[in-house]
Structures are given as structure tokens and as C-alpha cells.
């Protein structure tokens, strides 16, 4: 299979590989996929106010999955949470020229974005709730 130049570029020079402190209340973490399916994406966002100031990923998966998550982190940085929630897998497919058999990689990236935002929002809700026995130290 031939890869598009953009997939190759993200594969060879992935943007924002790494990890943020997943215990921080300002960090949302999304992990989607399963090893048995051949793809696992972990995507993290760091939020200030309602704006994403940093994003990191780690991905187990094919080159297109790595490229999709790398691109997602690039797009997330600087966006508000509401803007981030509008990122669609079809935009990723288009940007990376993914062939039909690789569309599931872009779907996974969209799922990872949503999961990271949901995780962040849940943390915020828990923080605001008057919980004397908060789990987080």
C-alpha cells in the first residue's frame, strides 16, 4: 500500500508524542480502541479556561492511526473545547488522504478527542461538586 506524503510526514515526524499528568484536574485523557483490534489511541488535552493549551498522544496502531492522532493533537492546540468538539473524522480523512480501508483510524481519532473532552468535563464537574471525600489528592 502506498502512503500519502502527509501520512508519511506525521509517521516520520509525529507531533506532540508524549504524556501529560493524567491526575491533573486540568488534563483530560481519552483512551480508545483495543489491542485485539490492532489500534489503541491515548489522547490528552490540557485546558486553561475553556481553551486547549496543550495536547499529547500515544498510539499503538498502523501508520495511518499514528498520523490521525498526531494530526488531531495539532488541530486541538489553541482551540476552545467547543471548537474541538466539532472536529470530524471526515476532515482528518481529507487532510491525510486516507484510503477507505483506513477510515476507521480517523474515526478512532475523533472518538479519542471526544473521550478526552468528556474526561476533562467530568473532572471539572467533580471538582465543583461539594464532595468532602474527593478521591483526588
Amino acid at each position: 500500500m502506498a502512503y500519502s506524503d502527509k501520512v508519511l510526514d506525521h509517521y516520520n515526524n509525529p507531533r506532540n508524542v508524549g504524556a501529560l499528568d493524567k491526575t491533573s484536574p486540568r488534563v483530560g485523557t481519552g483512551v480508545v480502541g483495543a489491542p485485539e483490534c490492532g489500534d489503541v489511541m491515548k489522547l490528552q488535552i490540557e485546558v486553561e479556561g475553556d481553551r486547549i493549551v496543550d495536547a499529547k498522544f500515544k498510539t499503538f496502531g498502523c501508520g495511518s492511526a499514528i498520523a490521525s492522532s498526531s494530526l488531531a493533537t495539532e488541530w486541538l492546540k489553541g482551540r476552545t473545547l467547543n471548537e474541538a468538539a466539532t472536529i470530524r473524522n471526515t476532515a482528518i480523512v481529507e487532510e491525510l488522504s486516507l484510503p477507505p480501508v483506513k477510515i476507521h483510524c480517523s474515526v478512532l481519532a475523533e472518538d479519542a478527542i471526544k473521550a478526552a473532552i468528556a474526561d476533562y468535563k467530568q473532572k471539572q464537574a467533580e471538582d465543583e461538586a461539594p464532595h468532602p471525600t474527593a478521591r483526588r489528592a
Partner: protein, 409 residues
């Protein structure tokens, strides 16, 4: 550095092999001046072609301990498998309609069995052990009075595991059941002798042993017992009516020459490939942890190495070693998007199946190439593990099996 190294490096010898220059040399006259049709009885062009075909028949027979009359030329192993399975099932239908094979066979065998099932045959698919082997005891237990054929491969194309064909042959002989063996990967790599090993039908393919693509052969035993087949391609009655169609004379000459070389050079070549293969394995395992060997540790093809690299997906690894040509059991590299049925039958685990790479070493592989490949693999695996959330979890001491994964797709 290795300035003499020519890139990309070919390490996929189980997929196909380059034509040996000596094979090509032998073939060329049969494209040029000796272009005759081997079936032309009325002139020297035909006689010369026929002579070359008969010579090749003897060369092929000699490589597997058979006689020339027992060799039928085909377009390759896929066709030979179709002829053997369908031909036996049809010819022996009055004896029974039961066949025995294994889940680790090549698709050519499995899909032919599926076809026979549609026509009313019953097929028992034996489950191989974790190393992809079928035991003689499994075969003994599966054979019934109405079993007409046992079909088991000599060497597995993905993990290189060798079946104990001689012992399986003895069981089949004792039970009076015919044994077909797909020896596509075995001929020229390990010793194959249809008499010693009690095999009744066997296929081989030129392009796996440094011959041209699109030509192969089916061995059909002529005595003790005499095997009969129903032809599957009808026409001019070539190959004693078993396979009609004008013979591919240059291809057959190439197959014969390839078999001749394989027979005379087998011992030396397999020792050389085994040493290179072991070197590759040792180098990788010395540098990397979490590497699993797929297949049997000792009973395997000398030139095959199938490894799973934990926490790294196979296709991404192949991308990372783009100047080394290998293949993967990962779903992502196959048209079907399903991981290898062989690794699945071995219960390797879906995650490790996605992480598998097959390295194939052969006649023209050099030590420099193996060193280059080992370095490239180690580098790429390290880089991809740094990018892998699974590796991160494992480093934190999390057992991946205990995690509830989200999103099955």
C-alpha cells in the same frame, strides 16, 4: 558504513524468490530458437521441446524421491492443490466423502475444502498446537472409514513450522488413507522424499525455489498404492489427460533446473540460511525485550523467522523499516483486514498477531543485509514503543489483560 549494500533489502523469501541466474540461463533457449510446442509430434521443434519437458520431469522427480511418470506439470501450487483435492474427492466419492486438513493450511487448501463442502463433502479441520504443528495422534483420531484424503502441509508459509510428515504418513499408510502434502515451502529447503515419508500426493511451486512464477507440479503416486485422479481441466489430453493445456515449456525447464539446484545444494544452503536466521534472531533478541517467536523453536524452515514485538503494531513497524522488505500477520497489511488465520489457529492472541513480522531469508541473503535489517528493526521498535500507550502502561506495571478496552470496531 555499508556502502556496498543495495537497498531495499529483500527479506520476504516465503512470498516469492528471485529467479536464479542459472535457471534463467536454462530457460532462455526455450523462448528463442527452441520455441516449439511439446505436443507437436511431426517435427524437430516439437521433439526438442518434448525432450526438455521430459528432462525437467526427471529433475523434479529426483528432488522429491519420485519417478518422472508421477509428475504432472501445473501453473503452480494453487492449481496443483485444486487438482489433488478435487480430483481425489471426485474419483473416490464411492469410498467416502470425508477429508482431514488443518486450520493452519494455506488458503488454497482451505478454500478448496470449502468448495468441496458445498459439493457435499465433509471436512475435519484439525487445530494445530501453539507452534502450528499437527500431531500424528490427531490425524489417527480424525481418520474414519470414509476418509478419502488427509491434506497437511509440509512447512507452514507464515511461521515456517514443519509438520511431522513422515509419522503422519505412517499413520495414513496404516489406515489406508491417501496423504497429500503441500510442500510448496519445503522443497529445496528441507529434505523431502515421498517414499521415505509415505506421501501419496504432493505439490511444489517454482517461484518459491528460485524458479519462475506461474509453474509448478503435482506428484501423484503410481504404485503402492496407485492414486487415481479425476481431471479438473479438460482439453487436449496433455499430461496423460490429467491436466490439459499446452505446456509452459520455458517455465517447466526453469522448474526442472531450479529443482536440480535445490537438490544438489540443499544441505549447504539450508545450513547457511539457518545460520543467518539464527544470527538475525539473536541480534534482535539481544537488543529488545518483549519479543516472541511464533512457530516451533527447532522444527521450522531454516530461512524463516516470525516474531511478534509486544506493544508495536506490525504495519507501523513495516513502515519504519521501509528499506527492508518483510511481511506481517497484521490485519492492516492484508486485503481482508483480518489478522492471519494461521496465528489465530495457533492461539497466539489477537494483539500479538497484530504485532507479528515474518522475515524470510534465502539464497541471496548476505550477512550485511541481515545486520542492516536487525539494526533497522531494533531502532524502529524502540521508537514505536516510545509512542505506544501499551508500552507506557506495561512500564507502569499494568497488566494489559486486566484493562477494559473501549470501543470495539
Amino acid at each position: 558504513m555499508n556502502t556496498a549494500l543495495k537497498l531495499p533489502i529483500y527479506l520476504d523469501y516465503q512470498a516469492t524468490t528471485p529467479v536464479d541466474p542459472r535457471v534463467l540461463e536454462a530457460m532462455l533457449p526455450y523462448f528463442r530458437e527452441n520455441f516449439g510446442n511439446a505436443a507437436s509430434r511431426s517435427h524437430a521443434f516439437g521433439w526438442r521441446a518434448e525432450e526438455a519437458v521430459e528432462n525437467a520431469r526427471e529433475q523434479v522427480a529426483a528432488a522429491i524421491g519420485a519417478t518422472g511418470k508421477e509428475i504432472i506439470f501445473t501453473s503452480g501450487s494453487t492449481e496443483a492443490i485444486n487438482l489433488a483435492l478435487k480430483g481425489v474427492a471426485e474419483m473416490y466419492a464411492s469410498k467416502g466423502k470425508h477429508l482431514v486438513t488443518s486450520l493452519a493450511e494455506h488458503k488454497a487448501v482451505l478454500d478448496t475444502c470449502k468448495h468441496l463442502e458445498k459439493l457435499g463433502c465433509e471436512v475435519t479441520y484439525l487445530k494445530p498446537d501453539k507452534s502450528a504443528r499437527i500431531s500424528p495422534e490427531q490425524v489417527r483420531a480424525a481418520i474414519r472409514p470414509d476418509t478419502v484424503l488427509v491434506a497437511l502441509m509440509w512447512a507452514n508459509n507464515e511461521v515456517g513450522t514443519l509438520n511431522p510428515i513422515r509419522e503422519i504418513g505412517a499413520v495414513c499408510r496404516e489406515k489406508g488413507t491417501l496423504l497429500f502434502s503441500d510442500a510448496t515451502q519445503a522443497v529445496g529447503k528441507v529434505s523431502v522424499d515421498v517414499e521415505r515419508d509415505h506421501v501419496d500426493l504432493l505439490c511444489l511451486s517454482a517461484h518459491k525455489l528460485y524458479g519462475p512464477k506461474g509453474v509448478g507440479a503435482l506428484y501423484v503416486r503410481r504404485k503402492n498404492p496407485r492414486v487415481r485422479l479425476a481431471a479438473q481441466i479438460d482439453g487436449g489430453g496433455h499430461e496423460r489427460g490429467m491436466r490439459s493445456g499446452t505446456l509452459n515449456v520455458p517455465g517447466i525447464v526453469g522448474l526442472g533446473q531450479a529443482c536440480e539446484l535445490a537438490r544438489t545444494e540443499l544441505a549447504e544452503e539450508s545450513a547457511r540460511c539457518r545460520a543467518l536466521r539464527d544470527h538475525l534472531q539473536q541480534r534482535i533478541e539481544k537488543e529488545l525485550g518483549f519479543v516472541e517467536l511464533n512457530g516451533h523453536p527447532s522444527e521450522r524452515l531454516p530461512g524463516n523467522l516470525n516474531l511478534s514485538f509486544h506493544f508495536v503494531e506490525g504495519e507501523s513497524l513495516i513502515m519504519g523499516i521501509s528499506d527492508v522488505a518483510v511481511s506481517s500477520g497484521s490485519a492492516c497489511t492484508s486485503a481482508s483486514l483480518e489478522p492471519s488465520h494461521v496465528l489465530r489457529a495457533m492461539d497466539v492472541g489477537e494483539d500479538l498477531a497484530h504485532s507479528s513480522i515474518r522475515f524470510g531469508i534465502g539464497r541471496f541473503t548476505t550477512r550485511e543485509e541481515v545486520d542492516y535489517a536487525a539494526e533497522a528493526v531494533v531502532k524502529a521498535v524502540r521508537r514505536l514503543r516510545e509512542m505506544s500507550p501499551l508500552y507506557e502502561l506495561a512500564q507502569e506495571g499494568v497488566d494489559l489483560k486486566t484493562i477494559q478496552w473501549q470501543g470495539n470496531h
